[in-house]
């Protein structure tokens, strides 16, 4: 770090060599991490480029011989990939919008107001995570059937919002805790209603947390599989995970198509993550939870 008063040139040689060694080790370690993180992704890339006769190749090279984009063409022309994409976009965006709206409101109440049952609310929200989600499925299915929500995108959306909410509320609450209360109070004194003060003052200051919450809800909707399989039965409503899994049950023949599809599915999320990268670090202040 640069806080030292001595400059690089005046440091003793031993110290400089020590620093150089540290740098080497840092790079070795970072590259070990990168290799571990990236290798499986490169695997998907490689497999998606394989021609049909090389699906079970035992070569480790990333770009296969006779690399081809056939699998991608097949996904767009022979598979209802665009339909799956459309359904997933509707579900994921819907989940994100509803999730952010609800979590930003709920988190605000828990962060700002000292109300009866506040601790219970905070613990209760956390508790909803503890129940194995799959076992909520059966009762949920019966309930949704009564409400005529089975086999509708709205039905899965409601389930996803509930899945994502607890984390989102905690994240929003943690972030609000770091914003000085005075700003909100000032707006109240200026004659804003509590809701106006919230929308005009606190919300704009919470951008990083809103981004995280939105991203997290979007991801829930984009990649959930178990709930979708139970609640969505008709082919026209299949989301991407259901669609891709349908390739996988015939795993033996469609490995390349699956890989191509996976890449196409992961790409938007990865791009979102990279674009929102800097928000990730500042927005996840899970921690400033001071009870």
């Amino acid at each position: 770090m640069s806080g030292h008063s001595t400059t690089r040139a005046t440091r003793p040689l031993g110290q400089r060599l020590g620093r150089a060694w540290t740098q080497v080790w840092v790079h070795v370690l970072v590259w070990a991490f990168v290799l571990f993180a990236v290798f499986p992704v490169l695997q998907i890339v490689g497999i998606s480029l394989r021609p049909g006769d090389q699906l079970y190749s035992t070569e480790l090279s990333i770009i296969p011989d006779n690399a081809t984009l056939d699998a991608y063409r097949i996904m767009f022309t022979e598979k209802p990939f665009m339909l799956w994409m459309r359904n997933s976009v509707i579900v994921a965006v819907g989940t994100a919008v509803i999730g952010v709206a609800l979590a930003s409101l709920g988190g605000f109440a828990i962060s700002r107001y000292r109300f009866i049952g506040r601790g219970a609310a905070l613990q209760g929200i956390l508790m909803t995570q503890m129940f194995p989600a799959t076992m909520l499925l059966l009762p949920l299915y019966l309930m949704m059937r009564k409400l005529h929500l089975v086999d509708t995108l709205g039905g899965v959306m409601v389930a996803y919002v509930a899945t994502a909410l607890p984390f989102c509320v905690w994240t929003m609450k943690g972030y609000y805790d770091t914003i000085p209360v005075d700003l909100n109070e000032a707006a109240l004194i200026d004659g804003c209603s509590p809701f106006q003060a919230f929308v005009r003052v606190t919300l704009p200051l919470s951008a990083p947390a809103l981004v995280i919450t939105g991203l997290f809800s979007f991801m829930t909707g984009w990649s959930e599989f178990m709930v979708a399989r139970v609640l969505l039965t008709s082919q026209e409503l299949a989301t991407l995970p259901l669609g891709l899994e349908s390739l996988f049950t015939t795993y033996q023949t469609e490995w390349a198509n699956y890989a191509a599809g996976s890449l196409l599915v992961s790409l938007p999320v990865v791009v979102l993550f990279l674009v929102l990268n800097r928000f990730l670090v500042s927005g996840l202040t899970l921690g400033s939870v001071k009870g």
Binding site: M1, H27, V30, F33, V34, A37, V38, F39, P40, I44, S57, T58, L102, A103, L105, G106, A109, I110, R114, F115, I116, G117, R118, I125, L126, M127, T128, Q129, M130, F131, P132, A133, T134, M135, L136, L138, P139, L142, V158, A159, A162, P166, F198, M219, M226, P241, L244, E245, S266, V270, F273, N277, V281, S282, T285, L286, G287, S288, V289, G291
Partner: protein, 296 residues
């Protein structure tokens, strides 16, 4: 109107939408599930389930596999968390240094988190394939390690290891990102002061970094425990529904199989109530420990 009453009223309106969703989609099914756990609802009594009391709960503990699966779930959770936290924290410490190309490294290390979980799990399943999977091909290249081609899904523990490796890969970036955020909020003056006092890097880590990160890492630890304990996707998809022969299950995958493959609804419901109670105890334990530590 007193301040607290006013605030309670406001909080009520702000929290109402969240409450409606959570009560409807989580709480109601939860209680319904408790009811199911007290009935003999299964394939044979699908239309006429009736209450049988606590019989399922008693049977749970009598089952021969139960304690094995129970122990395995704890092992699964512990091993994953240890690796998530050491790797995540390690990566965060590395990336918190002045490093050329730091933002690129950070982006690359987030990849496992960014790729949808089911895709990662299915891809790793392919990579653990004994004939053409990349893991065995690499092991073969590193012949000097003495690890021949392994039939990953042939053995109970190798299948378990495959799932653990997959989940470690999936989970460390989350901790890394959280720790990075925490690291950036630690004032540099603390390190300067410690350096002047002659504290070495190890001492600085344990006396400054770790305690300062505690408020950030503690909630991540609680959430991480719950998520890992309840992680259905990874074991289910990597071991292809519990290969070999239902031997690689943890509690949640075992329940899922009992419910949706063997249609033992009542039994599965009792099992999941039990899982819930175990998690409740763990989280209570964490909260106590954190309160004792005062930093939370």
């Amino acid at each position: 109107m007193s301040l607290q009453r006013r605030e309670t009223k406001l909080a009520f309106w702000f929290l109402l939408p969240v409450a409606v969703v959570l009560l409807g989609v989580v709480a109601y099914p939860f209680f319904f599930n408790v009811y199911i756990s007290l009935t003999n609802w299964n394939m044979f009594h699908f239309r006429d389930p009736h209450l049988i009391g606590l019989r399922h709960y008693l049977r749970l503990f009598a089952e021969s596999d139960f304690w094995m699966i129970f122990g395995k779930t704890f092992l699964w959770t512990a091993v994953n968390l240890v690796f998530h936290f050491t790797l995540g924290l390690g990566a965060a410490l590395l990336l918190n240094r002045k490093l050329p190309g730091r933002s690129i490294y950070r982006a690359l290390l987030i990849l496992p988190w960014a790729v949808p979980q089911y895709i990662s799990a299915l891809t790793w399943r392919g990579m653990f394939n004994s004939e053409y999977g990349a893991v065995n091909l690499i092991l073969a290249k590193l012949g000097w390690l003495g690890l021949g081609p392994l039939s990953w899904f042939g053995g109970e523990w190798s299948a378990f290891s495959a799932a653990v490796i997959t989940n470690i890969w999936l989970g460390f970036p989350f901790i890394m990102v959280i720790a990075l955020g925490g690291l950036q909020s630690i004032p540099q003056e603390l390190y300067e002061a410690a350096r002047i006092d002659g504290a070495g890097p190890v001492r600085r880590f344990f006396s400054i970094t770790l305690p300062m990160l505690k408020p950030v890492l503690m909630p991540a630890l609680i959430l991480g425990t719950i998520w890992t304990f309840n992680n259905l996707n990874v074991i289910w998809l990597v071991t292809d529904q519990g290969l070999p022969a239902d031997k690689s299950h943890i509690l949640v995958t075992y329940v899922y199989k009992a419910a949706f493959f063997y249609y033992r609804y009542g039994y599965a419901a009792a099992f999941s109530v039990f899982i819930f109670l175990v998690l409740l105890l763990i989280v209570q334990g964490y909260n106590k420990a954190a309160k004792a530590g005062e930093a939370y």
